[in-house]
Symmetry: C2
């Protein structure tokens, strides 16, 4: 066989044991909070039929979907002229693609399982997604998404529960400068109504969504491009820059939208939410990029940091309609766990003992003691202690080095004396001390 110099595909990563311990901690903590809030896990396949994925993420999104080549004789039916038209041949030779997000597959799941599930239906989903994006620092082609959604209910209780859940997660992780921002697409729709540009509403949202990245001045240039008047832009600027308490902002926007039916609906929803919780900041400059949001929208950012959002979501009133299931409102949020991981790593927020994967290493001074070593290992394992048994017939020094490199805090050393006396040497790898102890004493020493 020809030798090869292996490499990873662009934008993908291996996770070694120490990273995995932290990732598992992060995900398990989030999963636990999801279940306390009554959400249950589901999983969908990584592969979806292209017709499920196509057209859901805009033109730009469509280009970023990884497509899977049909198996077998995939060129059957392909004409020579086809290879000149990329989109044409692409459709013929690849009928499946890798999941681009978790929301569209969830809408497909709900539509296909409508007879089996009870509405309102609550689910969480933590799985990989793939995007043929240009890889950058913190942006990957294969990464996890972590979503929680309600479907089949319009109740504002959902928004409140989601806000509480998000608060619980960041509180648990001690990311204390996180702020939950909330706005309502109906309020933005009201603005577009009052200033007479309803036909440009989607563009308007996409432009506002860029405010943190490109700043107000460039936003205004883009407003000009979609033909907003100078006066409208001035008034919209006032709205976007509004400071003060949630109530003060609400009072201001109420006056602006006094003649807009949809705007007043949005205001009513925010008011209801304010009665239930004060854990969010009402932010009229929040818009979100995706076109399927129709009401509440959320984003979590870090105060005074221009890092972008670490969590985002909203309410969508008809995502399942395309799959033939009408009038099903849903609301959900997605945790940007890759970014959250980086923040926790930078700020040293992972628990200290995460780097020690195993509790104890069993070392032996000669191959004759292997049987006894394995016996002791199994006794400790029955007590829920994580035990590594050194496998090579190496000198003790090398065995201790192995313990050190793997951050194993204790080593049990087994030799002739130990077996005779039934007192085994327990070496503490942190301070270097060692003691002769019975198995029971060892168990109580090394248990976490």
């Amino acid at each position: 066989m020809k030798k090869i110099n292996p490499s990873l595909p662009k934008g993908t990563r291996d996770f070694g044991p120490s990273v995995m311990l932290k990732r598992d901690y992060l995900l398990n903590t989030i999963k636990n909070i999801f279940s306390l809030y009554g959400f249950n896990a589901i999983e969908t396949p990584s592969i979806e039929n292209m017709e499920v994925l196509n057209g859901k993420y805009g033109d730009e999104g469509d280009k970023l979907i990884f497509r899977i080549l049909n198996s077998g004789n995939f060129t059957e039916g392909i004409e020579k002229t086809d290879i000149k038209t990329i989109s044409n041949i692409r459709t013929k030779i690849s009928k499946k693609g890798l999941r681009y997000d978790l929301t569209v597959p969830f809408a497909r799941f709900v539509s296909m399982n409508r007879d089996k599930i009870t509405l309102p239906f609550k689910r969480y989903q933590i799985q990989k997604v793939w995007r043929a994006d240009r890889p950058q620092r913190g942006r990957y082609r294969e990464f996890y998404q972590c979503d929680v959604d309600y479907i089949g209910t319009k109740s504002i209780i959902c928004e409140n529960e989601i806000i509480n859940l998000v608060f619980s997660v960041f509180n648990k992780f001690q990311i204390e400068d996180s702020i939950i921002k909330v706005n309502n697409r109906k309020i933005l729709a009201g603005i577009s109504e009052v200033f007479n540009f309803q036909n440009k509403f989607d563009e308007f949202c996409i432009i506002i969504d860029k405010i943190d990245k490109i700043g107000l001045e460039k936003i205004n240039q883009e407003f000009v491009k979609i033909n907003l008047s100078k006066d409208s832009i001035n008034q919209i600027n006032k709205i976007l820059l509004l400071k003060g308490s949630n109530q003060e902002k609400l009072d201001y926007i109420k006056k602006v939208l006094v003649k807009s039916k949809i705007g007043k609906e949005g205001i009513l929803e925010i008011e209801k939410l304010m009665k239930l919780t004060s854990k969010f900041e009402f932010d009229l400059s929040l818009a979100r990029g995706l076109s399927y949001y129709t009401s509440s929208i959320f984003e979590v950012v870090l105060k005074d940091k221009n890092l972008g959002s670490i969590c985002g979501g909203g309410r969508y009133d008809d995502l399942t309609e395309i799959f033939g299931y009408k009038n099903i409102s849903g609301v959900g949020i997605s945790f940007g766990i890759e970014r959250i991981y980086e923040i926790m790593e930078e700020r040293n927020l992972f628990p200290n003992n995460l780097d020690q994967s195993n509790d104890v290493l069993i070392s032996y001074l000669s191959e004759n003691y292997i049987g006894k070593s394995l016996e002791i290992a199994n006794t400790l394992r029955e007590k829920n202690i994580k035990v590594d048994v050194y496998s090579e017939n190496n000198k003790l020094k090398k065995q201790l080095q192995y313990a050190n490199k793997n951050n194993i805090p204790f080593v049990i050393i087994i030799g002739e004396e130990e077996i005779k006396s039934k007192l085994y040497t327990l070496k503490n790898m942190k301070d270097g001390t060692q003691k002769n102890l019975s198995i029971d004493e060892i168990i109580s020493k090394v248990s976490r």
Copy 2:
């Protein structure tokens, strides 16, 4: 948007909440045992470069790899004549593929991270793999593999630990008719030496591997095809059909292989293992299909059931060589968790309480009590109780139906009386009884 009738790609599955609870139980139990044995998790990308995957699984395997279409203008450089040669165009337009198993990516990982890891290195890996196989009952195109491996050690302790670990897993799951079968490729190599067909060794192993599926008679027909003499076939039949204790089989094969150096090495390894553990059945008809095994091989089957193996693995002496990392012996085993799931489901071996995902539902008799309901929900969550809050403004009957359909064992009903008296109605959904209790009493009642 055009409406579509969504479907799942062939051989893929959605997992709803009740299946996920069981799958999570299965995987978490296995993970926990892996860590007790000192194995740590790693993850590798789902996507690998084709040069990493190609040629590792035989010609048949290569055809079953799902290939990913290059992004962007993938037809660049393709000539019109190329579309007539499928293998040619395939290589040009798809440079990446979906992972086919976890062993080759692990070998790639070890080779690429040789400076970062300490040998011997132990890892477990539970991730999806994809195969463009013909879907059948119990065989999918997307499924989980669950592997545990040692690398960088030739010690027989590894084999012993793996056998103990496998024993612990099936013991935990109460699959009491599981048998761990062990053989050694060196013994099979010895047989091929003694009967003079070393050049047909790989075919020999592939043929023996089919014995459970097609029976001895057809096996013998295939032996004839690879030119084994009638006398050799007779003697090999005796070996394959050998009954008795591990020691009796060993005594028999020792005599057969007395002149084979490699055969005697294999015997020595089995003897060493027998000294350490009696938890396996030495089975001379065990061969395994994959060509990379070089020494110990394992398989777990159910006694008296012709179900095929539910777990399999072995030692490979140079899987990393192709990636430029020489003389690195590894040994591991893979749990067939899809099959294990089915067995547990058939035999009703999952714990009974797995169908109840949430501990309690909070119902309210009017929207006025939502605030209080949410407050109680958060109090219970702080006590680690899984709480669902009913979100729609429906009649109590409907709320109780929701609890029933979702297998929620308790409902807290909140109305005016309850708020006044601070004694809330707790309804037991199994027996229909209800009591008025304080929050503290409710907490102790509904905690698991």
